[in-house]
Amino acid sequence: MDKSQAQDPLREADNGATAHTLRIGVYVCHCGGNISDVVDVERVVQAASGLSNGVVTRHYPAMCSETGQNLIIDDISNEKLDRVVVAACSPSLHEHTFRAAVARAGKNAYLYEHVNIREQVSWCGKSDPDGATNKAIRLVGAGVAKARLLRPLAPISMDAKRHVTVVGGGVSGLRAARDLARIGLAVTLIERSASLGGHMAQWHLVYPTEDKARDLLRELVDEVIGDPNITVHTRAEVIEASGYVGNFLLRVEPEHITVETGAIVLATGFDLYQPQEGEFGYGQYPEVITLDQLERMLDPEGPTSGRLERNGRAVNNVCLIHCVGSRQIEGIHQPGPDGKLNEYCSRVCCTATLRAAGEIRRRFPRTNVFELYRDIRTYGRGHEEYYDEASRLGVLFCRYEADRPPVVSPAEPKKGPGLICAKHPPGRSGKLNLVPFSAEEPDDSALVVQVKDTLTFGEELEIPADLVVLVTGMVPREIDTLVDQLKLSRSADGFLQEVHPKLRPVELAVNGLFVAGTCQAPMDISESCAAGSAAAAKAAALLASGRIELDPFLAPVDLDVCRGEGKCVEACQYQKAVTLVEVERDGRKVRHAEVNSALCNGCGMCTAVCPTGAIQVEGWRLDQFDAMVDALVADYAETEVSHA
């Protein structure tokens, strides 16, 4: 453990100033109107001026901008500021930004206090601007009060294993493993099934390049297997995980191996939605299949050697039904076995379906292809071209509403030949060039799909089908053991949830865990690879130096006060974050608590139970809380606008 904190940091950092003579700069951000449209920032600044001895108090449209940050830096050098308080957005967004600015000005980054007056004030107080302004003034007052008692802290630095474990050997995991190895990190790749490649290995051609999926995969798999930095375990599963960022310990079954690793990339992938028995005739009629099965049929190396046939009969009419198991609506769709609806769009299926439909029309021009869709969502680059192409190739589109889904049923028994003859348009001679269309029309399809087509003015259409293809979406894969062992957070739809969808898109809430590919959300191969590379880059950046810096907000023990009662050990939620140790002190053996800084999360449970106040969370010390509470309840009557 490496903790170097000054004995009397206040005195040392502030050149003898006392808490009441400290020079404090207060900055109120408009957030481009997000705050200033509701909160009267002038009045907040005015009040703050009275609270902070009026050294520097400013408001500014965007404190996070470069000019905003430079304001702080210039004031620190020109006005000799000792503390900085910024009242702006949530600290999760920009606390780091302003700490970094303070550090750039040569001050300790922890002599900074962040006050949230956006999420906690302006956004929730739109109906009461005066009340919101008063609340902002009190929060700023509390921030200033706490700032007076801040002490300089040093980040904790510790060794980290320059090794990453990638869980999942699909395209995303393979990409991540290969990228990590090329950066020079050792990688262990753990795959549950017997072979690498995941779902992609089962696919025939992939958009938007029309590459053979297996060729692309083979290239990547060969690279991964041939890479001396990568160890691959197939038919293997992580069954136990412990440790912390930089030093995780994974137990892998059934090989009974233990992996010491610095970071973990989760690339566990998805499952295809399994249609319910009878959903669009699935499981009832052998002619009803799913899109992945169609892809297998189209594959020359697949079960039908690339022939489009069902039950030994050529397929004249194919009907593809979109959005099966995706975009489900309460009251319309049946919840799955887990009682949940898949409300999200699986995104990749529209383009994948259009691609397959186009291929059928090109390779089997006599086969009619119908696509029954709710909406066509060809969102990516080069995707809309597939819609254009399918349309040009004569794929017929019908649009159904969610509450009137298509109905698949067996065709009525074949009519006698006399009736079929009677259907011939009259007056057509028997010459070869005048074949009546009903002779070409395969009227003996096994199934009939009925759809109320909004493109045909709500007409009820009856479509003959030799093959009905259900375009099933992606559902979260069952990874409960990992979720449990690694404390992973999942979003409402069941996929793994990142820290922030935009700013930290591949990081999980637990430090050192990254997410790649479709275990996070439905995405296509390009996106999965991009996510794999992103996770690799993030993990590599974390472990590049072999050491990891952590925020110093943890609970050090005041050895003068600690009596070694051990209440903190009982209260601690994190395994082995605080332990009792026996040491020699002034010639006597004493017991006291010791905190493992890598495992401590600074939650403060120990502080609450400590009978002597020996253990306190840095950055959130009790005297700081006291000061904040005093400030919040102080008498501000003269600056507040009263409202009845």
Partner: protein, 386 residues
């Protein structure tokens, strides 16, 4: 009730032209720009959608194709270059063939060989009849020292044959029109009945639209020229028809009347108008500058070409007789008659006669339906009676 799709149907219709319909994505721009669409007639979009899916019964029951006059604005506007205007044209050809249960229409539209055979067969009839007449009479009826056309081709005999031919053609046309009415008026609800009064009360609109084709003018002023040319052509054509079918005994004469005599100036007017209009159409098709002339099928060249040939040969017969040249007169007369018989035989199945009837009939039937629907709507607040 659900309608079965027949996706192969469009391959059949594509043989009549407009084979770009697979490009259509049903956006409806064509219908939005069409100044005739509306009031329950959603074309070309609806017609094209029916075509894509092969909803044959719906197509046969659609009067919409006949409400389009091919201004071409939809094709100009189509974001997919699916040529909706030409598709509507193809639809009219296909419908014409479908109404024609004899199969002649389909053969003529889909086979160039059939067009040539039909023309040759038809042209052979007057030649054979005339040869037979002269063979029977020992070639005594050919007067060579002066022009005696009515001796060469006795007008009453010719007239009788013309009337027979027209009865035959007219029967066909009426049958086809009847088929069209059956398809369009086929009720979706078997209970719903169209009262006879509605048919009677709308007859006036049938007559007006038949004579003027005035709905065409709603396409926009810039298309008035086309409408006028067409109206001139119709006037010339109808005059000639009346003169030949109704008054051949008066019209085909060896008397040379003074210029102010109606036999002369009616003939001159009709001939000039026909030459002008047919030449304008042929030039348009050569230039392909307007949408309506961009795509020409063999059958589209047929009618204006025959009109031009007919008018020119007619003028020449007249001129040769005036000049007193017996052989050129007789020869040109024979060519003239052969050409006109061939024209009528090929036109009744496929072209101008057909649409002359079908267009006003479609408007008429739409109006009859509308009148029935309006009457079927109960008055506000009226209680149902048992």
């Amino acid at each position: 009730m659900s309608t079965r799709v027949h996706p192969e149907l469009h391959r059949d219709i594509a043989r009549f032209g407009g084979d770009d319909i697979t490009k259509c994505m049903n956006c409806g721009n064509c219908t939005a720009v069409c100044s005739l669409a509306g009031d329950g007639a959603v074309f070309p979009r609806k017609t094209i959608r029916y075509m894509q899916l092969g909803l044959k019964d719906k197509l046969l029951a659609s009067p919409e194709p006949w409400l389009c006059y091919y201004c071409g604005e939809c094709s100009d506007t189509c974001p997919r270059d699916a040529n909706p205007a030409e598709t509507m044209m193809a639809m009219r050809r296909w419908l014409t063939a479908e109404y024609d249960h004899s199969g002649r229409g389909r053969r003529l539209y889909t086979s160039e060989k059939a067009v040539v055979t039909t023309i040759l067969k038809a042209a052979f009839i007057p030649l054979a009849l005339l040869l037979a007449l002269h063979a029977v009479t020992g070639f005594q009826r050919i007067v060579t020292d002066r022009v005696e056309l009515n001796t060469f081709a006795p007008v009453m005999w010719v007239w009788a044959v013309v009337l027979l031919h027209f009865a035959f053609l007219g029967y066909h046309l009426m049958m086809n029109a009847l088929h069209m009415i059956q398809h369009i008026m086929k009720p979706e609800d078997p209970e719903a009945k169209v009262p006879w009064a509605a048919y009677l009360l709308e007859l006036k609109s049938l007559a007006i639209h038949f004579i003027t084709q005035k709905r065409w003018r709603e396409c926009g002023e810039e298309h008035d020229g086309q409408w006028l040319t067409h109206l001139l052509l119709v006037s010339g054509y109808v005059i000639m028809l009346v003169l030949v079918v109704g008054m051949l005994g008066w019209f085909q004469t060896d008397n040379i009347y003074p210029v102010y005599h109606p036999q002369r100036w009616l003939g001159y007017y009709a001939t000039l108008v026909l030459i002008y209009a047919s030449a304008a159409m042929l030039i348009g098709r050569f230039r392909k500058r307007t949408q309506v002339h961009r795509f020409s099928r063999p059958t589209d060249w047929l009618f204006p070409s025959f009109i031009l040939v007919g008018a020119i040969t007619g003028i020449l017969v007249h001129a040769f007789r005036y000049a007193g040249w017996p052989w050129p007169t007789y020869g040109m007369y024979l060519i003239h008659v052969m050409a006109m018989v061939a024209m009528l035989d090929s036109e009744v199945g496929i072209g101008k006669w057909a649409h002359m009837i079908y267009r006003p009939l479609a408007i008429y039937l739409m109006n009859v339906k509308k009148r029935t629907q309006n009457q079927a709507v109960p008055e506000a607040g009226a209680l149902p009676t048992n």
